[in-house]
């Protein structure tokens, strides 16, 4: 990462409501032109953080800098930040044009400039010609776009989006995701996006900040948080994960070994663990390979785990399997249909062998 100055700098931010602490010690930098997503389950504080940034809440402690200036004490009107609300909150008594022009009117700009910029915003969200329409007559997706146009017309430094797609149906949601991403790049505006949908976060963001119970567990690119989660929570929240609680039997600088299902398994010692350390090993379902006995030679099965298929779910692109190991533990595998492996016909109760791609395990220190 080159040394770009952050646009938004949040330091040691804390927010409590009475005795209830919602956000603890938040430190976050947002860079100009990036699409940052705040991801987390309901109640984790991500919306509160958004409200603190926009100015609708005041922090109990800590500060927020926008472009180097402290904005913690400024009311929402004076911060160069606008919000797209989850409920869209379009002004019902104003038509589409007036909704979009509202922010410009507040600044008392000349009428023709208002017209130009409002039309520009409407074009950017592909609502040209919708000026005179009544907001109540618009579809969910169209209302969404008006809400966005209304917020970007003023060219704010940062656009905050509070779960804007949560009330749209699946297909529309997918379309809007790519449209929003496209719009953000076109405008080169900084977006801070809040969602609880990890798939959405992965597909749209430049970086993701994963929240849990009021603090940030990890900030990284989608690839980073998915492939190298830094905590059990992140591993489990983003994507699926098989989690093994194990103890290191042997370790050196390069590799660490442990015992799974009475077999010794060794992998890269990514966390500099020593013998005796307790760890979690995380393996994603798509990294697990399931073989039927006819497909493997005897000697290979020495390093594989025997298992029985306990559940099969056909998903079109993949077939998801639950396999029960000898000890009774169940792990999940997801196999893709591709040209290399035409044979993916499984049966319940079938005896199989299970292995995973070496190097794709994630080792994390044991958390209570």
């Amino acid at each position: 990462m080159t040394r770009i100055k952050p646009l938004v700098e949040i330091t040691n931010l804390k927010k409590s409501f009475g005795s209830n602490t919602i956000l603890k010690d938040i430190n976050l930098s947002v860079y100009p032109g990036e699409f940052l997503t705040l991801l987390g389950p309901s109640g984790c504080g991500k919306t509160t953080l958004l409200r603190l940034i926009s100015g609708f809440e005041t922090a109990t402690d800590g500060q927020i800098l926008l472009d180097g200036h402290c904005v913690s004490q400024l009311p929402p009107q004076q911060r160069d930040i606008h919000t797209v609300f989850q409920t869209y909150a379009l002004f019902p008594h104003l038509n589409v044009y007036e909704n979009v022009a509202f922010a410009l009117r507040c600044q008392k700009l000349p009428e023709d400039e208002i017209k130009t910029r409002a039309h520009e915003a409407l074009t950017q969200v592909q609502l040209t010609g919708f000026d005179k329409r009544d907001t109540k007559q618009l579809s969910g997706g169209q209302q969404q776009r008006v809400a966005i146009a209304r917020a970007i017309v003023n060219r704010p430094k940062v656009l905050l989006l509070d779960e804007p797609l949560s009330s749209l149906d699946y297909r529309l949601r997918k379309n809007m995701q790519s449209e929003l991403k496209h719009l953000q790049k076109e405008l080169n505006m900084t977006f801070i996006f809040v969602t609880h949908d990890q798939e959405e976060a992965l597909s749209m963001s430049d970086r993701i900040a994963v929240f849990n119970h009021g603090h940030i567990e990890q900030i990284g690119t989608p690839r980073e948080v998915y492939e190298t989660p830094e905590s059990l929570f992140v591993a489990g929240f983003i994507g699926e994960a098989n989690i093994f609680d194990l103890e290191i039997t042997k370790a050196d600088a390069k590799s660490a070994c442990t015992v799974i299902e009475d077999k010794e398994m060794c992998c890269n010692n990514t966390g500099n663990f020593k013998a005796g350390d307790k760890i979690h090993m995380i393996i994603r379902p798509e990294d697990i390979r399931v073989w039927s006995p006819s497909e493997v030679k005897d000697k290979d099965t020495q390093v594989m785990l025997p298992a029985t298929i306990s559940e099969i779910t056909y998903k079109g692109k993949t077939v998801d399997l639950s396999v029960t190991l000898a000890s009774g533990r169940v792990i999940y595998a997801s196999e893709f249909f591709d040209e290399d492996d035409g044979d993916l016909d499984y049966e319940l109760g079938e005896q199989v062998f299970v292995e995973w791609y070496s190097g794709w395990e994630v080792l994390l220190p044991y958390e209570k």
């Binding site: 926009s54 009107q77 919000t83 609300f85 989850q86 909150a89 008594h93 509202f102 507040c106 003023n154």
Partner: protein, 257 residues
């Protein structure tokens, strides 16, 4: 057959409802003082009505009182409802809800005498002031109910959105909240005006000798013995109300089209 029963019953009830009113109007044109038999058409009573100074002053007083009390009660209700709307849960809203509920359940007569006791102890002379205070007080719960029921359908995010986009609190209030709410405030005003204009019970206890209001004036007349002048007054009131209500109905129909 079903339709016959339906139309028959509806008409029957409407006839019952409007019969006394029609009687009133009819007899306002009757050229007789106390008799019920028809003595000929006249608009004499209307002439006398327009010259009755006591009646006029009572009418004007009632209108002033009604207008004033309704305005302030609606304003109070507006402020309270908007404040609660923007703040969501607060302790003070429980106090408010309990007080309002109590005021609605409490019979008029108990509120009337309570205020009488209060004014007596506070040495507030009975007259316009006491009436004004009393009317505002009993109108507030109704105004709040009307405005609250409309406000509960609004999305509070629209206000926040306005602020977020750069509007001052005042601008957000006048340009966003008020346009969404003014029909409810107007309804509240009209309701309060009606309640105040027609109030007998509470006014009975807290009015004084030098500020005469219409309901009490009529009350005293009715007990003494009435002249058709009163019928004339009733006819005019009813005529006006009908016009007002029908007009409002037409207006609301036009808006939806």
């Amino acid at each position: 057959m079903k339709q016959l029963i339906k139309h028959g019953y509806l008409s029957f009830v409407f006839v019952l409802l409007y019969l006394p009113i029609l009687v009133l109007i009819a007899y306002s044109f009757n050229d007789a003082h106390f008799s019920l038999s028809w003595h000929g058409f006249t608009i004499n009573w209307y002439h006398i009505l327009f010259q009755d100074e006591d009646l006029w002053s009572a009418l004007i007083n009632s209108m002033l009182l009604g207008f004033g009390a309704a305005s302030i009660a609606s304003l109070f209700a507006f402020i309270v409802c908007v404040h609660l709307f923007l703040q969501s849960q607060t302790k003070s809203s429980n106090f408010l809800h309990s007080t309002l509920l109590m005021m609605i359940i409490l019979p008029d007569i108990v509120l009337g005498i309570s205020l009488l006791v209060f004014f007596n102890l506070a040495h507030i002379k009975l007259g316009f002031t006491s009436l004004f205070i009393a009317h505002i007080t009993f109108c507030i719960p109704f105004a709040i109910i009307v405005i609250q029921s409309r406000i509960s359908t609004l999305n509070v995010d629209t206000y926040h959105s306005a602020i977020d986009l750069g509007a001052s609190k005042l601008r957000a209030m006048t340009h966003i909240i008020l346009p969404m709410l003014w029909p409810a405030v107007l309804s509240a005003f009209l309701l309060c005006f009606t309640l105040s204009f027609d109030d007998v019970i509470i006014s009975y206890f807290v009015s004084g000798p030098d500020f005469n209001i219409l309901p009490l004036y009529i009350f005293s007349l009715v007990r003494m013995g009435v002249t058709p002048e009163l019928n004339a007054l009733c006819s005019i009131t009813i005529g006006l109300s009908m016009l007002l209500v029908l007009g409002a109905h037409m207006l609301s129909k036009k808006e939806t089209i």
